[in-house]
């Protein structure tokens, strides 16, 4: 008798559980892009514009600001990268937190760099959709600012290195170039062309304390640099 009652209750429990799960699943799917973002991402990223206005804030920042995602990044790239994150900034967010003295020169202290959290394909699709709706700073980007064209890799590199001195802080292929800025060999895969023009024209408009100096590039040079970044991204490093 006692056995029967226990059995009955455990069956009931199973039914209740199954009902609970089947009711819950669609609810999770409906808003989970935002849920994932809230629970897994906002400890390091900001999604409403709050760029560092002091150096202290710059040093303490844990991840890039994502409040302009919709006008800054390419959707397909974000979706792929979140499933298979590959390092973009060789010395982390603020290089000063990740360097040590080496034999000849200072070196990146790779033990202090973190691996980026990974998402499943489904999670990445959902989060990317939510992120692409964020469009702060839209006033800084002019749609159609970039006029497609081309430049040879040789000429582009000459400009990036010899004439403008950008190579000092940016790698143009894995293992070649400066380490304090993000690598640029995937920049055109990651970032929208009109954003690239806008950022290179005036980095401080996006990041008042940016480590990237404003080199007062001419409009024609801005266009050529984006031609070059696009050519570089075709190399598939």
């Amino acid at each position: 008798m006692i056995f029967h009652i226990a059995n009955f209750y455990s069956k009931c429990l199973w039914i209740v559980l199954i009902i609970a799960i089947s009711f819950n699943t669609p609810a999770i799917a409906a808003n989970s892009g935002k849920d994932i973002l809230d629970s897994k991402c906002l400890s390091c990223h900001t999604i409403s514009k709050k760029t560092p206005s002091t150096l202290k804030e710059l040093w303490e920042r844990k991840g890039p600001d994502l409040s302009s995602t919709g006008i800054k990044y390419k959707q397909e790239w974000i979706k792929q990268w979140l499933q298979k994150p590959v390092r973009i900034r060789p010395a982390g967010m603020f290089y000063g937190n990740h360097i040590k003295k080496g034999k000849k020169t200072d070196e990146v202290d790779s033990a202090t760099l973190i691996k980026h959290p990974k998402l499943t394909g489904e999670q990445a699709t959902l989060v990317t959709k939510v992120l692409m709706t964020l469009k702060q700073n839209q006033n800084l980007v002019k749609t159609g600012d970039y006029k497609p064209g081309s430049i040879s890799l040789t000429l582009g590199e000459m400009m990036f290195d010899k004439f403008k001195g950008c190579l000092a802080c940016h790698q143009i292929e894995p293992g070649y170039g400066g380490l304090s800025g993000p690598e640029v060999y995937t920049a055109a895969k990651r970032l929208q062309e009109d954003y690239l023009i806008s950022f290179m024209r005036d980095p401080q408009a996006w990041e008042p304390k940016s480590i990237m100096p404003n080199k007062h590039l001419k409009e024609t040079d801005l266009q050529k640099l984006v031609h070059y970044l696009r050519a570089l991204s075709q190399e598939n490093f």
Binding site: I99, G165, G178
Partner: protein, 115 residues
């Protein structure tokens, strides 16, 4: 009413302090913007140096550093290497730092070279 004023001042306080904090110390500016090329100790050997075609100046080298006037140092920091016929790899910091902050950096360079 008294409370309202108090709350108003309290809530707007952060805006005032942000404005105050906008001038950073030379030490902090150097650490943020110069160390990447000039190195943790200012010896011209930062993390970016291995693939650079011109080496950054060693700021602890009293002989080299005292060869420049303060006006020249100010100019090279504000307008970049090309402004004094030096390498384009030394960037212009005029859009990043205020004139006051650049003047403070010139003083800081004297502190580094002890000259």
């Amino acid at each position: 009413m008294k409370y309202a004023i108090f709350i108003f001042i309290y809530c707007t306080l952060p805006f005032f302090s942000v404005a105050d904090a906008s001038a950073e110390t030379a030490k902090d500016n150097y650490k943020t913007y110069c160390v990447q090329c000039h190195g943790l100790e200012g010896k011209g050997n930062g993390i970016n140096v291995p693939d650079m075609s011109t080496q950054p100046r060693n700021h602890t080298d009293a002989k080299e550093m005292s060869a420049r006037t303060d006006q020249e140092l100010f100019k090279v920091i504000k307008e970049g290497g090309q402004a004094i016929k030096k390498s384009v790899l030394m960037p212009p910091w005029g859009s990043t730092l205020s004139d006051g902050e650049i003047n403070d950096l010139v003083k800081y360079l004297h502190h580094l070279c002890k000259c």
